[in-house]
């Protein structure tokens, strides 16, 4: 599903030396995988997430999404792909304040070409167990509930790929476990999910763990199923 071939990403800051955030990263992620990308801060994992999510273009290398080379697409074509194929979950939730949960969830539909969008938002909220919070505003919801609204927003357009950047970083343990349980059930339903995290406990929920160090991919582990089961008990 995802194919990266020797991806480089170099930032040039005015008045500073160029920073090589990604250095020859190549990897394949198959449909239905649950993958964690780990690494220390500054290792380039956020940059990799932005490249995977089509939010940022690589300086060199090729990115194939479902066999299509997307490295050279224009901004509008990328926006369309993000809208239809990719769902995002962020550490800071990024919900619109003073706006109901339902309207937040329906935000991607605003930019969609789909004709039949009636009821999709409500169904996505039901899927994350928030059917009774449709009219609540972010300020009236707990952190865990806000992140569930954000997941519903990521799912509303039924994307192939779900990208989560430190999804439990702002949450207490209980809420974090809820969120991870949702990811596991989405994975069980066959969705492709990539979670970026620095937290080994979160990564332990995934069947495949990629490690980044200074912009290079240094490890690609597939822990035993037992670890996943142990994580489930936590």
């Amino acid at each position: 599903m995802i194919e990266l071939a020797t991806i480089d990403k170099t930032y040039t800051r005015p008045g500073g030396a160029p920073v090589r955030a990604l250095n020859g990263v190549s990897l394949r992620i198959e449909r239905g995988e649950l993958v964690a990308i780990t690494g220390a801060s500054g290792s380039g994992k956020s940059t990799l997430m932005n490249v995977l999510g089509l939010l940022d273009r690589p300086t060199a290398g090729h990115y194939r999404l479902d066999g299509e080379d997307v490295s050279d697409l224009g901004v509008d074509a990328l926006a369309r792909l993000r809208n239809r194929r990719i769902g995002f979950v962020f550490q800071a939730f990024h919900l619109l304040p003073r706006t109901s949960a339902l309207e937040n969830v329906e935000l991607p539909l605003l930019y969609s070409d789909r004709a039949a969008i009636q009821g999709l938002g409500r169904r996505a909220l039901e899927a994350v167990g928030l059917a009774d919070r449709v009219d609540h505003r972010p300020g009236e919801l707990s952190g865990g509930q806000q992140q569930r609204v954000a997941i519903a927003r990521a799912l509303v357009n039924e994307p192939d790929l779900l990208l989560a950047d430190e999804p439990t970083g702002n949450l207490d343990e209980g809420s974090a476990a809820e969120i991870l349980a949702i990811f596991r059930s989405l994975h069980a339903a066959g969705r492709t999910i990539v979670i970026v995290t620095h937290d080994p406990a979160v990564a332990a929920h995934c069947e495949r763990i990629l490690r980044l160090e200074a912009g290079r991919l240094t490890a690609d582990d597939r822990p035993a199923v037992a670890v996943v089961a142990a994580g489930e008990g936590a």
Binding site: N50, D56, A79, R80, F88, H94, L110, Y111, D113
Partner: protein, 404 residues
């Protein structure tokens, strides 16, 4: 479809941030209100001026006033001059193209009494031809005739304001009034006139035979002014030149000496009105436009601040599929909607104040389509001016940077 959804979405977004939207609306509100007010009142004042001038002048009259430099823009310090009734009569006799004329003498503010009641009014002495020459008749009673003028009869025509102040509920016709110790009998009520271009209440007037006023009240042989009606409108300017030549002869003015009288025609008055109009229609809208630009700058800076505060929101919208054009459209719509809202409020406020001002100045109705269109146009321009820069900045943000 997509644009319609964006419009609905922007409308809700404007509604969610009421304080910010309110301040942004204030910008266009003040500008549009000022513009509407200026145009509506300006047009009302112009209509009033034109109708007053038409009422006073008609198309074909020459006004002669004693004293030089009486016309706006004329030389200052021009000599004051005597103009007698006798010489004016002689001048008119020498001009066959004059079909009718009326001399005028008057007291600007004279106490007028009836029994215990007293009022201060303008007292005018005129001839029996006044109704025809000044185009003002009586609504009740009868105007005085040539015999009354010839015999210096003590009869008077009074305006509505004078009638109300002196007679209250009493019927003024046949009543007695006193001017400077002379008793007059009220024989007619003057047609209502209202306020003239100078803001003077022309219903606060008493008209008596000019002979009576000159001999019995003022004891003078001069007149203040005379109005001449010319048969052929095309001969007005020529007649005015003739009047001037004859009067200069009679006053024995040498070449190079300025006139000690003033001759005014409709053409000159129109030129004067034109000067006033240029001020109203160039200078005042300029002032309004400046306040509009100021409002636009306020809106733009508030919107720019709003873009800076909503960087994360913009990043999120890009992440979930908004194209740069969608972001630009949204911010343009938000600015345009607030500008339009403020503009409509400004239109209502400006029109209401214009109505109040018009009522105070007795300008009559001042509703103006031009003011309405200018107001709406101004609101649109404010929105566009204020919206473009912030919307472009928002659209240029890179999603990865915005979400950091």
């Amino acid at each position: 479809m997509r644009t319609a959804r964006l419009l609905k979405h922007s409308l809700r977004s404007v509604g969610r941030y009421k304080l910010r939207s309110g301040f942004m609306m204030l910008g266009s509100l003040v500008g549009v209100a000022a513009l509407t007010l200026v145009i509506a009142v300006g047009q009302g004042a112009e209509r009033k001026l034109v109708s007053t001038v038409r009422q006073l002048f008609g198309g074909s009259s020459v006004l002669v006033i004693a004293g030089g430099g009486r016309l706006m823009g004329g030389p200052r310090g021009a000599p004051a001059g005597r103009m007698t009734l006798a010489e004016m009569e002689a001048v008119v006799k020498a001009l066959p193209e004059v079909e009718a004329w009326d001399p005028q003498q008057g007291l600007a503010a004279e106490p007028v009494r009836h029994g215990d009641a007293s009022a201060t009014a303008r007292v005018l002495g005129q001839s029996e031809r006044t109704e025809r020459v000044w185009n003002r008749s009586v609504t009740r009673g009868e105007p005085f005739d040539a015999a009354a003028v010839a015999s210096s009869a003590r009869v008077a025509l009074i305006g509505e304001t004078v009638a109300r102040e002196l007679f209250r509920d009493e019927d003024p016709l046949g009543g007695e009034i006193q001017i400077g110790g002379v008793r007059f009998r009220v024989v007619g009520l003057l047609e209502r006139f209202g306020t003239d271009a100078h803001g003077m209440d022309r219903d606060n007037e008493v008209v008596v035979p000019i002979s009576t006023l000159m001999r019995r009240v003022m004891n003078v042989d001069t007149i203040q002014a005379a109005k001449l009606l010319v048969k052929e409108p095309s001969r007005v300017e020529a007649t005015a030149r003739e009047v001037r030549r004859l009067l200069r002869d009679r006053h024995a003015l040498a070449a190079g000496q300025p006139d000690d009288f003033t001759v005014i025609t409709a053409v000159q008055v129109q030129r004067m009105v034109g000067k006033v109009e240029r001020i109203l229609f160039l200078f005042l809208p300029l002032v309004a436009a400046v306040s509009l630009v100021a409002g636009s700058v306020v809106s733009a800076s508030l919107m720019l601040a709003s873009v800076s505060a909503r960087v994360a929101e913009i990043g999120l919208r890009r992440a979930v599929g908004a194209r740069p054009g969608d972001i630009q459209t949204q911010f343009l719509l938000e600015t345009a909607l607030t500008a339009l809202g403020g503009g409509l409020a400004g239109l209502v406020l400006g029109s209401a104040v214009a109505e109040l001002v018009a009522r105070r100045l007795a300008l009559g109705g001042v509703f103006s389509w031009q003011a309405l269109l200018a107001g709406i146009g101004a609101a649109a321009v404010t929105g566009l001016l204020a919206g473009v820069a912030p919307a472009r900045r928002a659209a240029r943000l890179q999603p990865a940077d915005a979400l950091r």
